[in-house]
Symmetry: none
Subunit: 411 residues, 2 copies
């Protein structure tokens, strides 16, 4: 049974801006060789012109309409942080921050560096507060620290994500009260819970040992938690049931791991997959090829193309693509008898440094896939290929058909 | 900040019919030069094969699903006639006509020629009747004459567009009674109001000075008003809110002005833009380029391609395109650092003389747009371009992404 290796360059798409694009310039002989044997096209991750986030784009690419399933970033971020969510759970992204005595935000990241043991201490305090407040209001509360100042706060019970952020999103503004955004009991309760946790944490922070130490060292105290991006965990039919495809995802980025987990993919990581321009892909591809023996589809997320794009670093972006290709080269023989998909979740042109709405190139190689005239994977060439212009939601059904796994519609 | 100039040739699309199309034949070096630098494709104004009206096509092109927002032609016609409509207002297109003593229509246009002072006299009478009838039924009534026999009748209050036409749509048939098309109170009331206005106008017409004069001159009297195409003014989110794009439209045709105004575009006109095959575009393009300094998007409507198509006038259609291009030439330098879109709202093949459902060519030029192989703007060439096949509703999101103005969906 063949299986699919799907390599996704996050933010890999680009604009020519008077010259060539990183995909066009990058020396990537393995991808381009398989491109020359396969079909190419352009892909609108959501629909033409729509500027996708990585979360909504991945939902669509995994075959789930984001207009139906995207319920705010919080839930996907929490899943990525290995918090087990149940449908209906509400999750927020959180920052540990510093406020002054009047509640005005001085630093949205509490001086940026937070040591792992400090994060653990805060986690303990916040979970204690969460337990007390949760008991009072009849909900379950979990706080989990992820990286540095970042974390997630999860509420379970008769709660709603329809409440406003407490994060003022800028320095110099006051920590906000969360307000219900609709007239439901659940939203009112959620806002109360959030506000009480917020208030109690700032109080408790005064007595925290780590803050005493931080003050002695001249560092900013961790005395506020800022909540944003509330979302609820949707009811999602697992990918195995929906497309009859057993899928694994290899990703280092919490948000992508969360989306993959939400749709029921098994999630792996690999050394070297940090999400920076210096990522290394040997281990990730070794794992990917191993997993191909056990899965119908192995998805590999490459973050470095997006990070370099946000920095406006054209050469850095080229280098990420080239390094991935080099790590892929040893598996060419293996790939020849399987399927390879290469695409991106959205364009992040280095000239713009933000996600844009142009379609991204896509290539599909397989022993039984039509060979078109395109021999180079890029924005400047793939549009003339045999796949034409397709959408994110089309990819999984296409792969399911080649794998022979999806159901026939009708007789 | 770059902005977009969008030139739309109404009914510009055509069929080869064994030869070449007007777009293919027309000598249009400026459009074709920018085409050679940009991306091309074909565009289904609504969806493949659907024969659009100009109103529904423009709604879709401006980013509003016509299946949701198109509520009959009357409302858009009234807007185009500079009648200020509020959501819920009901408007009809009207003809001033001649009926005989039995109420049978002799001429649907009252002998076609109606002098402006005659139209004003009728306007006065109809608004007086409208005021009286409106007071009786508790609604507001406005009649406005537009061109010759054409006008609009607007009702405001507890009214409905779900009533039948009084216009029998042919000579020799009787003026019809308007009947409610559903069981609502509003439809019943509207039919009564319409019927009473219709009856009273025919009565009042007997005493009208202008009719005495017309009879003396051997001309047909204006003694009936025919209503058709009732529509209500929908609630439409302005384009600035929906797409964050500040947009202006330059158009001479009432219906297009109405659609543009309905979606919240600022509407301009220019000398020379009459909608005939003799239109001149120097002033319109001068204004367009001026407006580009103040707007993100400037839309220019060219009617002559449709008028010549309805006449089956191939050479006339070619000439309209060539004249537009010639007037565009002085602004080539200016355009090079901005965006240009050229397309059509539907095909009106000169061989058919009616709107048809084929896709129309579209080109998009911009400094950061992919250059494909297409160097001539036409039905015979654009299908091989990098845009592939897109839909009317896709255009605004695509432009919004290039302008960097639209919101990201997700994170």
């Amino acid at each position: 049974m063949p299986s699919v290796l799907w390599i996704l360059f996050d933010g890999g798409g680009d604009r020519p801006s008077g010259g060539k694009t990183p995909f066009y310039v990058a020396f990537k002989p393995t991808i381009d060789y398989l491109t020359s044997l396969g079909s190419c096209g352009v892909l609108d991750p959501i629909s033409p012109g729509v500027r996708p986030g990585s979360d909504t784009a991945h939902l669509a690419l995994f075959g789930y309409d984001p207009y139906k399933y995207y319920t705010g970033r919080g839930a996907f971020e929490a899943l990525g942080a290995d918090v087990q969510l149940k449908p209906g759970d509400v999750a927020f992204r959180t920052n540990l921050a510093t406020v002054d005595d009047s509640g005005t935000v001085i630093d949205r990241r509490a001086g940026r560096y937070i040591a792992p043991e400090e994060a653990r201490a805060v986690e303990k305090v916040l979970n204690k507060i969460g337990e007390e407040v949760g008991r009072k209001y009849g909900v379950e509360v979990v706080y989990k620290s992820t990286v540095e100042h970042r974390g997630v706060l999860v509420l379970r019970g008769a709660v709603s994500h329809r409440v406003s952020d407490t994060d003022p999103h800028k320095v110099g503004a006051k920590l906000l009260r969360s307000e219900p955004l609709d007239n439901s009991k659940e939203a009112a309760l959620t806002a109360e819970v959030v506000n009480e946790i917020t208030r109690r944490f700032s109080e408790a922070a005064k007595e925290l040992e780590i803050n005493k130490t931080r003050r002695l060292e001249g560092r900013l105290p961790i005395n506020a938690i800022l909540l944003r991006g509330g979302g609820y965990m949707p009811q999602i039919e697992p990918i195995k049931e929906r497309y009859n495809i057993k899928a694994a995802a290899i990703a280092g980025v919490a948000l992508i791991r969360g989306v993959a987990r939400a749709v029921g993919m098994d999630v792996y990581t690999a050394p070297g997959l940090g999400g920076t321009k210096d990522d290394k892909f040997d281990e990730a591809l070794k794992l990917a090829v191993e997993l191909m023996a056990r899965y119908d589809l192995v998805f590999l997320h490459v973050k470095g193309t997006d990070s370099t794009s946000h920095d406006g670093d054209f050469n850095g972006k080229v280098s990420v693509i080239e390094r991935l290709d080099k790590s892929l080269a040893p598996y060419l023989d293996k790939l020849l008898s399987n399927y390879l998909v290469v695409t991106s979740d959205h364009a992040t042109p280095v000239s713009v440094k933000e996600h844009t709405g142009e379609p991204v190139p896509i290539m599909l190689y397989g022993p039984d896939v039509v060979t078109d005239d395109v021999a180079k994977f890029s924005e400047l060439t793939c549009w003339r290929g045999a796949l034409g212009r397709i959408r994110g939601l089309d990819v999984m059904p296409i792969l399911g058909s080649y794998l022979g796994l999806t159901e026939k519609f009708g007789e």
